[in-house]
Amino acid sequence: MTAAATSRREIAPSSTPADKAFRGTVRGAAVLALSVMGLIGVFLFLRALPALQVTGWRFLTTAEWLPGVGHFGVAAVLEGTILIAGIALLVAVPVGFGASIWIAEYAPRHLRPALVSLVDLMAAVPSIVYGLWGFFFVQPHLIPVSRWLSENLGPALPFLRVDNAETDSSFASSAFIAGCVVGVMVVPTVTSIMREVFSQAPTGEREAALALGGTQWAVVRRVVVPFGRSGIIGGSMLGLGRALGETVAVYLIISPVFAVTTHPLQSGTHTISALIATLSTESSGVALSGLLAAGLVLFLFTLLVNAGAAVVVNRSRSGQVTG
């Protein structure tokens, strides 16, 4: 045996010209998609620069929006955005989780295809439709709920108290109601993703749980949910992404206020996307640049959330954690 044959060699899979051509094409597409993302970031940053030069880091800590005197920032609108998205998730994740488990595990088999299409269809309904529905139907019906929460839980939880509680308008345009409407809006998205993952839970493991004497509930708890962990997180994060960016529904319901929202049941809050939608046509110069800076903040925040989600999803998929 020669030395060449016994010494350690580099080995790598070789590929055919067709493989190479295909790889080149998909790589090009991936680069294109990523560079669009990058270009958006660069564009936002360049256009935001004039405003950021005026305010400096105070842009992140200022609640007011007075570009005329150079005193403006995203503290209030960013907090409002996160608050409304958080309330939306509180509504959407439990409902979406339950609905997806039901469709994947309990619904009559012959109904499932129809239910799946229905949910996907609902996810595709334009947000203006949800916004109008929220404005004309949900808002009036949630005012008594808000009042009940405020009266019964307010004494114990000060942040649920509302000033001028006699009038409905003190409740009508709150972060809570906007969050609920956005929550309903993202339920189909959350449901769709979770159901997709749950329905892929391996037959073998389901049968193992059943054959040990498990009930349908045991199958859900021990097989479907552990298997779908990444889908639960992924669905929630996609829902959060939609909720953070939601404009129309929020815009129709809230009454804009440039102050950090401390009382979610009280009318008056604001979000980044609603801010941009209300002011972009009437702003110019530094004011317009400020709006783009707010957009940049939302963009970076969304990236951060998604990166965090990716880390969590990857970690849970390796199967190291058990419930």
Binding site: R109, E205, R222
Partner: protein, 271 residues
């Protein structure tokens, strides 16, 4: 192919009585009939082997015995399955109770991959909400019976998904043994195992058959001869549903089959 030396008739250890009886069972997937008129008695303290060519309905029959068959959409069946004299397909019988009593090892290993090896062994208790006095002892005893203990005793907390295919199958055997079933259905439990593990599993089958009635599907004639006292030969002839061609004492089926098709099959001439 077969080794007569291994085929001495076995004297039953305790009073033998019918434990699980299939009575004129037929089965369908949709409109496709796969089993017809299967009548078979599984005695207690006895290992019953089901043999026959691929696709003749052995797995389907096994799944009928613990009500797993009905989990396939569109599946149906006719006939009765009596467990200690009671039809398990009667309305008031709960399938979960049947499956608790009649355990199963599947043809394809199906551990819970994200659960630890130890948790997998006691998954049956976890799933049915039962407790045990000494969990660690139960885990060790079950793993030993499945011939897996030595390989995993130092990694009981790692996820079962990290085991090899054959190790996963033995883990499934341990999991099925840990819940102390009265009847154990094993669908080709050794098809992915090396000779040593196979030997260990066969020993376990012999040990547990004192208390547990075992039904084992196998493609290995020597294994059928080694472990079983009774044997049934299934056959599905072209386009026909599967039927039992011959059944009885394993010794008789292997050494003096009455049907020429059985003789051909056990001699390895087809299938």
């Amino acid at each position: 192919m077969n080794e007569p030396a291994l085929l001495a008739p076995v004297t039953p250890r305790t009073a033998v009585r019918p434990h699980l009886v299939a009575d004129q069972v037929s089965a369908w997937f949709g409109d496709h009939q796969v089993l017809e008129d299967i009548t078979l008695t599984v005695h207690n303290s006895t290992v019953t082997a089901l043999i026959g060519p691929s696709g003749c309905g052995k797995s389907t029959f096994l799944r009928i015995l613990n009500r797993m068959h009905e989990m396939v959409p569109g599946a149906s069946l006719a006939g009765r399955v009596l467990l200690d004299g009671e039809d398990i397909y009667e309305r008031r019988v709960r399938p979960t109770d049947v499956r608790r009593t009649v355990g199963m090892v599947f043809q394809k290993a199906n551990p819970f991959p994200a659960m630890s090896i130890a948790d997998n062994v006691v998954a049956g208790l976890l799933i049915t909400g039962r407790k045990t006095a000494d969990k660690d002892a139960l885990i060790e005893r079950s793993l030993r019976r499945a011939g897996l203990w030595k390989e995993v005793e130092n990694r009981l907390r790692t996820p079962a998904g990290t085991l090899s295919g054959g190790q996963q199958q033995r883990l499934c055997i341990a999991r099925a043994l840990a819940v102390d079933p009265e009847v154990l259905l094993m669908d080709e439990p050794c098809s992915a195992l090396d000779p040593t593990s196979t030997r260990r599993v066969e020993e376990t089958i012999s040990e547990i058959s004192h208390e547990v009635s075992v039904v084992i599907v196998t493609h290995n004639m020597q294994q059928a001869a080694r472990v079983s006292q009774r044997c049934a030969f299934f056959l599905a002839e072209d386009g026909e549903p599967g039927r039992i061609v011959e059944q009885g004492q394993t010794y008789g089926v292997f050494n003096s089959p009455t049907d020429p098709r059985t003789a051909d099959y056990v001699a390895g001439r087809f299938g």
